[in-house]
């Protein structure tokens, strides 16, 4: 691999602890990790191993107990809460397992939500929303409410919402975890395309071997430490790694 690529994400000796009564629970234990710009990384590991916690730290919705998290030039772990909110709206697209669309808003309005925080005019917002919805191939569902959409469609709207502000980094926490195989595949194809065509850096938490197969790099977490880190291009590595994961269980 060339060293010329500047890492987009740098996680440096991050410790995350929760204190309940007198018990200290160490979720991440001095974890270091760097992710290159344009990479597609799958974060794997057993339930409770700290995947979501790590994702949250990188996405700037949580803070480490110690250590630093940098995304691009920004030290996420040192920003004030207000600055972080602004930073997230510009730099991060978040995709959830349960889609988390606002039920009283139409597909269009859901995608428009993050744009309401920008200075864009109504017309400019419209352009962005329409573009995002066309990327996820849902231009014909603009005025549908989430309850009128299938799970796969809802997740595609959620992806459109995540890319509406054109952030460089997309983070997804088990995005196919609640979908049937077919819809899950559609979502993965979409994420691959976003990585390929739109050069988004993607970090995805998953248990799904198919999802892992799409990634260019697999990071395996166990009890708050990095267990395996498999790099490589293409699906072969992914499948091989996924097999290791399943075998390890």
């Amino acid at each position: 691999m060339e060293n010329a690529i500047q890492p987009l994400i740098q996680v440096q000796s991050v410790v995350k602890q929760y204190t309940r009564d007198t018990q200290v629970l160490t979720v991440l234990d001095g974890l270091s990790l760097s992710i290159d710009a344009g990479d597609f990384v799958a974060l794997m590991g057993p339930s409770g191993s700290g995947k979501t916690t790590l994702l949250n730290l990188i996405a700037g919705i949580d803070r480490p107990t110690s250590g630093r998290v940098l995304v691009g030039p920004d030290e996420v772990s040192a920003m004030s809460e207000g600055a972080l909110a602004k930073w997230r709206s510009r730099n991060i697209g978040f995709i959830f397992q349960l889609y988390n669309l606002v039920p009283v808003l139409t597909a269009y309005e859901n995608v428009e939500l993050p744009l309401l925080l920008t200075n864009l005019s109504k017309a400019a917002r419209r352009k962005q929303v329409e573009l995002a919805l066309s990327v996820v191939n849902l231009t014909d569902r603009t005025d549908h409410y989430p309850r009128q959409l299938s799970g796969g469609q809802e997740q595609r709207v959620a992806i459109a919402r995540a890319i509406a502000t054109d952030p460089k980094l997309l983070v997804a926490d088990e995005p196919t975890g609640d979908l049937d195989a077919r819809s899950g595949e559609e979502i993965l194809i979409l994420l691959e395309r976003l990585n390929d065509e739109f050069k988004k850096t993607i970090l995805i938490v998953t248990h799904d071997p198919k999802a892992a197969a799409c990634a260019h790099r697999l990071v395996h977490l166990d009890k708050g430490v990095l267990k395996e880190d498999v790099r490589g291009a293409g699906k072969t590595v992914g499948i091989a790694a996924a097999a290791t994961v399943s075998a390890g269980k």
Partner: protein, 385 residues
Amino acid sequence: MRFLPLVLKNVFRKKTRSILTIGSILLPLFVICIMGTLLATLDSDPSGGKGMFRLTVRHSISITNWLPEAYLPKLRQMPGVKEVTIMNWFGGKYVDSSAKNFFARFAIDPESFLRVFDEATVVEGSAADWMGDRSGLLVGKVLMTKYGWRLGQQITLMGDIYPGNYTFTIRAVFKGADESGVYFDRRVHEEALPRVKGYVGMYWIKTDSVAAVERLPKQIDAMFENSPFPTKTETEKEFQNSWVSMLGNVKLLITSIATIIVLVILLIAANTMAMSARERVTEIAVLRTLGFGKPTILGLVLGESVLLSLFGGLLGLGLFVLSFPGFRAWMLNSPMGAFATGMRIFPGILALGFFITVLVGLLSGLVPAIRSAGRSIPDGLRQVG
């Protein structure tokens, strides 16, 4: 402003609940407007400021004790006194003694009456007709409308405090002063019942200045202090309020009830907002993940509660304004007619209603808003199902 559609949609997220909450703000606010109007009417001056210059003189013991007519020239001589008139409460009944046929009937001195109550203007017939006919009756416009009486019609009043029936002819109709009463020449009463001759229930004085209003009560009461008929002199306002306070402490009662109502709607609205925010813990965490800052979240939740409250409050105020003419008409025709002449839509009451509405909105949303904005995002996202 760009968040308004979202806030609006959130207000009506649970339609039934929102409508019930709006109803539970609407109706109490309507009641508060009515109570406030009654209170404001008590505090207002139906004579439009002219009552400021009037005083009443009555026996210091009670309104049912008489004063001698001989006080009249003494009062007239006092500096600051423009005019003095005599009013005796006749009582009696019209048709029957039911509450719906209750109105004020006074035996008065016609010559000076209209000079003391100079805000009264004769709108039908004439003052001269009334004064020229000893059995003529001066009737307030409200009462004319209530009974559908016509000028020239004969009205019989049956005595209760004083025996005998008296028949009068309506000679003049006035507007402006207490329109829910009838007034006739006290000489009619004296001729029919010689024992009342020379006695006076109340003197009404028109003064020439505010200074006189302040000075005269003490002077008058001092003048008659050691006589067999000591007096109690009050401003018109004090006199009216002393009637009202005879009904018990109405103001305190109304104010207490209104306060309790406000607290109840506050609790109902707060409950709705708390439920609404609790159901949306995850959603709010998602919005914050997208980059919505704490102030924005605070604004969204408070905006929602204020908007919900405004829907109820403005509908309540609207209902009040629309129903006011009917309410006033009903009051005018009731035994409280005299009181109702001063009733109108007080802008201050509408402003108070609006203020209460906004306050309820802000207070009910405050705790849920602070909680929503304060919860950590990962905790909010974890709280699924």
